[in-house]
């Protein structure tokens, strides 16, 4: 278990793991420290989310994932 992550500091391209086990890649960071724009790479809860972009709430970010290769 890592400490809280400051989402304000995360750059686009960073991979994140969400509390529900989903993985996503940051597309854009509004810099408000509360939200991230990210694209889902996987979602155990709802596989239809994969490939979709959405807003991720800071408290839903559990950890940083593996850097994605693009």
């Amino acid at each position: 278990m890592t400490g809280p992550i400051n989402v304000r500091e995360l750059a686009p391209g960073t991979s994140i793991v969400l509390v529900d086990g989903s993985r996503a890649e940051i597309v854009d960071n509004p810099g408000d420290g509360v939200w991230l724009f990210a694209r889902y790479l996987s979602s155990p809860r709802d596989p239809t989310l994969i490939g979709q972009e959405g807003m991720i709430f800071a408290q839903d970010v559990a950890a940083l994932g593996e850097p994605t290769t693009t």
Binding site: P30, V34, M55, F57
Partner: protein
Amino acid sequence: MAMKGSRGYRSGLVDLQAGEISREIFVNEDIYAEEQERIFARAWLHVGHESQIPKPGDYFVSSMGEESVILCRDRASRIHVFLNSCRHRGMKVCRYDEGTAAVFTCPYHGWSFGTDGRLVGVPYFREAYHSRLDKEKWGLIEVAQLANYKGSIWATWDPAAPSFTEYLGGFTRYLDLQLDGWDGREAQAEVLCGVQKWLVPCNWKFPAENFSGDTYHNISHRSVDLAGIGPSGAGRRDMGERDVSRKLHVCIPDRGHQTILYVLPAERLPPPAYMNAPIVAEYFRHCEEEKRRRRGEEARLVGAPGEIFPNTALLSRQPRTMAGWHPRGPHQTECWRWYFVDRDAPGEVKQFLRDYYIRYSGPAGMTEQDDMENWNYAHAASRGTIARRHPYNYDQGSGTAVTDYEYQGLSVPGEVIDLTEVQSSEQPMRNFYRRWAEFMEAGDWSQLATWRGSERKAAE
């Protein structure tokens, strides 16, 4: 409450027949509270200028009445004005003065709004709200109407208010002097970076009536005339054009807008100015020629202090500024001052004018400082029980305005007093407070648009 008498605002506290206005309207807390509802929630208010938000996502936090608003340009480049308050629990969604944003996010619970005002982010939307919150319904509160008039942005909270140009009536001509170029091209103004904001302990109507065209208070600026800050190194300003002009008070009846105006003689360019700075002098000489070529007789109008009802001051000549008098309680006003130049003016001209503006206007301005002293202590000395029993006198020049003024072939509509010989009048204040009383009495805009019947009749 003092104003609940049978005679009402217009004939009671604001008695234009007698030329008297009660001190109550400046210091009474109930009247102040009613002003917020009846004036600031219904009138068109100045918010800012599009040059302050040139790119998508740019914002400038402004003020409408007591309340903070966000002037911003959305991703599609559309300009909006929103109340700066989260729909969930009211926290300000923006506490920076200006900048660029992708979203406005509330720091309290995290609701987030797009630059178009739409609610886009709700923490635990699926879990806590069960995906049932209607996001379309809970966007930022947007003004009822917005107008971009030659780059200046105006807004009203009242959907029933007339269009901004109808609200201005015949005053568009004087707002044009503020926003058009010195060379007569349309909409050339840009705001110099940095809006001055400062608190003055007085009711907001003191500066508003002063900028309506107080031609009587020159004596209070005698010290700056003696110190000499004018563009050519003496006096308060370069006076050449004024010395050869007719000096007028122009009031737009029914609208509450009014201004001082100078009208140059026909066939005559303004006398030279800015003689200590050849580049600036040449620039203005060139602009005056171009304006005469483009605008013809209209180029004979020279602007001066004026006021758009209720709380926006104009000054279209140097120092070229607009001000907002934001109410902060009955006894305090937050003054905001924007400074303008023509965007195509040479750098040397912009810098020369900026230097002049700063030493003239604002809290460090050698002219405006004395105004604030007057407003401060006039207000303070009007609060007492005995003081409130005695109204102010607004009778100067009552009954002397004409409605068919013309000077060497140039017609000036409105209620006009030629001040060239009589020096001063208080017609602008009477016009301002007549409108103030109408706003305080009228139930809605169908009663406030008093001109509609007569203007229709005139058109027939």
